[in-house]
């Protein structure tokens, strides 16, 4: 969850959706090749299992 209240779920197959906690709708945001590790502030942190010695910071828009 980001500081601005966004809740993100990553599905098997890597699809990423953003949850509307009022309605339960979870619209697809993207289909990254990376694995979502968490969030810091409003940034998402992702890593690629093929390059497991770094985590990438991504601006959530």
């Amino acid at each position: 969850m980001t500081d601005d209240g966004g809740v993100f779920l990553q599905l098997a197959g890597f699809s990423l959706c953003k949850l509307d906690t009022a309605s339960g709708a979870c619209g697809t945001v993207d289909a990254p090749e990376e694995i979502l590790l968490g969030a810091s502030g409003n940034d998402l942190l992702l890593y690629n299992s093929l390059a497991p010695t770094q985590v990438d910071w991504v601006h959530q828009q």
Partner: protein, 237 residues
């Protein structure tokens, strides 16, 4: 093209071997990456805490006296990098103790309490200090009563709050992904001042206020083209 390809603006290095194939999936919150072994048979390090940007992780061995097997189910960290782990210890007579263990920022176990017959399988902590868990009451399960429970403890192990997810009622649970099924894992995270649980079997979101009041219950509508029917990860800060 991936999300990270388009938007990544910086990278933080991990120590080699911390994550990857054959390792437990990490959890990240409050500026730390948390790892744990699922199952150990000796007093070896079974918890790793890595503050982002630190050169070396902190290792800890959760190994209660007289244990022969210890399972670490989940691990959560506060902003000050203290942490709480929910574990199962088994002795040579196959007696089980479900233990909630608090660690200081150096990884030292500073307190623990037993929760039998309740097994805390997931944990989340917030800055207020209390410990929230999502788990199974095995006494209730034996009587086919409601058994999936959200429970809040004080740091010294007093039960403060109990809440039942809606999915506790008359729900036939599917096996999780690691048991050969398609269902993802249940998860528990801090959501600002609240606690929030995701029940993978029923796609249910439940959010509880610090006072223990259920303030949100919703059925999550997953994208129709998802690779599987259930999320495998659900992340809160």
């Amino acid at each position: 093209m991936s999300l990270a390809d388009r938007l990544v603006f910086k990278s933080t290095e991990f120590p080699d071997g911390l994550v990857g194939v054959g390792k437990a999936f990490p959890r990240m919150e409050n500026g730390v990456v948390l790892m744990h072994e699922a199952y150990t048979k000796s007093a070896v390090p079974n918890v790793v805490i890595l503050p982002l940007g630190a050169k070396a992780p902190i290792s800890a061995s959760l190994w209660p006296p007289d244990s022969v097997v210890v399972s670490v189910f989940d691990l959560s960290a506060r902003r000050d990098h203290t942490a709480v782990a929910v574990t199962q210890a088994v002795n040579a007579s196959e007696q089980r103790a479900w233990l909630t263990m608090s660690l200081d920022a150096s990884g030292k176990v500073v307190s623990q309490f037993r929760t039998n017959p309740y097994a805390a399988l997931h944990v989340a902590v917030n800055d207020a200090g209390n410990i929230w868990t999502l788990g199974v009451d095995y006494d209730a399960k034996g009587h086919k009563a409601d058994y999936n429970i959200l429970r809040e403890y004080s740091q010294d192990g007093r039960i403060l709050t109990t809440a039942l997810p809606r999915s506790s009622f008359a729900t036939s649970l599917e096996p999780a992904t690691n048991k050969g099924g398609l269902t993802g894992r249940n998860l528990l995270r801090a959501h600002g001042p609240n606690m929030a649980a995701f029940m993978a079997q029923t796609h249910e979101w439940i959010e509880v206020s610090p006072a223990g009041r259920v303030i949100s219950r919703v059925k999550v509508q997953l994208p129709s083209r998802a690779g599987y029917r259930a999320p495998v990860r659900w992340w809160l800060r």
